[in-house]
Symmetry: C2
Subunit: 371 residues, 2 copies
């Protein structure tokens, strides 16, 4: 059992896409494995929406490992015997990196809604500063699923000379109307909770019910029709029959309630607003054609999608692959058969490991001079 | 322009599936066309979740006709030159038929949550009493989309000897985990609004924000990925660029807000709870195999689904068709190509008209002795 600790990196100022400046910032990050002497074996891993820097290993005393521990470790997809893995909490989150729940040094109070609206590009810029700080001039790879995949593809477009490869899983190059719509409803649920109080609820009652509703919507979109049928179907709770009242009858109701409640305990409602907004703003094709997104990329790409993911469907990954091919980028694409919907990137470890471990080894050999 | 009026039918008592009794009841209904002397040309049409008895024609002074006017009228799919069409508001709704917003004669106050939980079968029983009252012993057909389709198939199973045919559109024989889940989140949004006040809000502030959020979720599920992309994509509101704040940037956000707000003005929050619950309870396979649902049916069936409907997908209609075929029922199935998602049954009039008009004519000739 590998014990890991979260570390912190300080950044004086970030210049945001909105034109605003934000700083000083603190960035929570973890590393796994050893950086080699040539500093050529570093891989940056990105977490998804509600994740954190604790991607692998155990914190002292914890019973559960990091969120992608099945993928990061000795002999695993991201093999810590060979590679140096970095994962940082994104800007705007509430897991150690500066976000709306952080203290604004100007007021000595939490930012709340005075925190500036941030973008996926801003998250990537902060990560770039961290990578610079670690003395790494070129990453062997950068990899993530969902919002993590958006960061990976943004690295490839914004910092092409700093990466050898990008692994983009269950993601997209821009948010579509349906993706924006689901986020908008979640935000409205949060902002409709009177306890939200225009974002000023720290130290008071939390907008727990609104945030729970928002999370319930999310969970439906993370699963698939089939995985919901297999896990719940019409299974009743401990009742023998329907209750004919408004208490819960079905297991799926209880599951959603549990997911909503546990989310409230671990996530900040304002971070929910800021991070969903960042994803909704995400559009690498802003001001240009999709076919022009990848002009100037120099890295290799591995794109992975899952057959039953209807939130970030394979068609979006395939659109990216076509745009990359149009630029003669070296792109591999794997569609993994899975019933787990969007959650598959957190579940389907074997298929992802097969695709990723070989891919990283190949990039290491061909582009980074690794054995 | 045909002017129509809503009529009312009184029923002393309904015996509900839950075991409770409810009454006296008032049922709002409308009719279009003329009942023939043999009383053999009557078709019962069912509205969907938030619909009403006003399916066609114009109410005096109204600028807009009923919700399925494109399908009901002279020469239309449900041809009022030939057939007598009946549409009633369902039990538990708030559009003229007794529901949670009606006055409970025992207390002289609105029922609110003291209204009993009702089922699709209970709605159908009340319609059966209306049909009896109109002196019709056998319906030429019964037809509806979505929750209306659930009523149609329930008629076929519960009152086989009283119908010649059932037209089941964009529906299912039971609610699945994902369908229950979307409704559960909507109910939680309503019940999380402090104004909901355990259902006791009549004459006070309405749970407007919660109900609006619930409706927004619904609207996403009624559209399709493609129809949302075509209608909205990433189109901005009157802004020239992203706002970098929490005001609305995208047209799709504004559309959802509009849909949520207008719903609050026309629909009762408690009816939202009761009708979604009725759908979630809907399961013709309760206590038996799917293959046994249609044992004993005697009517013909026309089943229609739409390619982009992901809320009630074609696969559910096809499951019904297979179960009907297993009972040697005379079943026609049409899958209509459409990008409109579940909304298609309220949009794709030409294809539905082609399928339905010929089908009804055939049933009339072969089973009801109509010319």
């Amino acid at each position: 059992m590998t014990i890991v600790e979260t570390q912190h990196f300080s950044l004086d100022q970030a210049h945001l896409k909105s034109g605003e400046k934000l700083g000083p910032l603190s960035v929570a990050y973890e590393t796994y494995g050893q950086l080699n002497a040539a500093r050529s074996n570093a891989i940056l891993v990105f977490h998804a929406f509600t994740g954190d820097a604790h991607a692998a290993g155990y914190h002292q005393g914890d019973a559960k490992p990091g969120w992608w521990d099945a993928m990061i470790g000795p002999g695993k997809a991201f093999d810590t015997d060979k590679y140096f893995i970095i994962c940082s909490n994104v800007l705007g989150s509430c897991k150690g990196t500066t976000g709306p729940d952080s203290i604004d040094p100007r007021t000595n109070k939490p930012f709340g809604l005075t925190f500036p609206v941030i973008t996926i590009e801003d998250m990537v810029d902060v990560q770039k500063a961290l990578v610079d700080h670690l003395g790494i001039t070129k990453l062997l790879s950068c990899a993530g699923g969902s919002m993590g995949g958006m960061q990976a593809v943004t690295w490839a477009v914004k910092y092409p000379q700093y990466i050898h490869s990008a692994i983009v899983i269950a993601a997209c190059h821009r948010h579509t109307a349906q993706q924006i719509a689901f986020h908008e409803v979640g935000r409205q649920a949060v902002m409709s909770d009177v306890a939200w109080n225009n974002g000023d609820y720290y130290g008071k009652a939390l907008p727990a019910r609104g945030l729970a509703v928002a999370r319930m919507i999310g969970h439906i979109t993370y699963m698939s029709w089939v995985s919901m049928e297999q896990k719940f179907g019409r299974k009743l709770l401990d009742k023998q029959k329907l209750g004919y009242d408004f208490s819960k009858d079905f297991e799926v109701q209880s599951y959603l309630e549990y997911r909503g409640q546990s989310f409230v305990e671990r996530f900040d409602a304002n971070s929910y607003l800021y991070l969903t907004k960042a994803m909704d703003y995400f559009n690498l094709a802003e001001g240009r054609k999709v076919s022009e997104i990848f002009k100037g990329v120099t890295s290799d790409f591995l794109v992975i999608s899952f057959t039953s993911d209807w939130l970030y469907p394979s068609s979006q990954s395939q659109e990216m692959v076509r745009a990359l091919q149009a630029e003669d980028a070296d792109v591999s694409y794997v569609e993994i058969e899975s019933d787990y919907g969007h959650d598959a990137f957190l579940v389907e470890f074997d298929d992802q490991t097969r695709a990723i471990s070989h891919y990283i080894a190949k990039v290491g050999r061909e582009r980074a001079g690794l054995a």
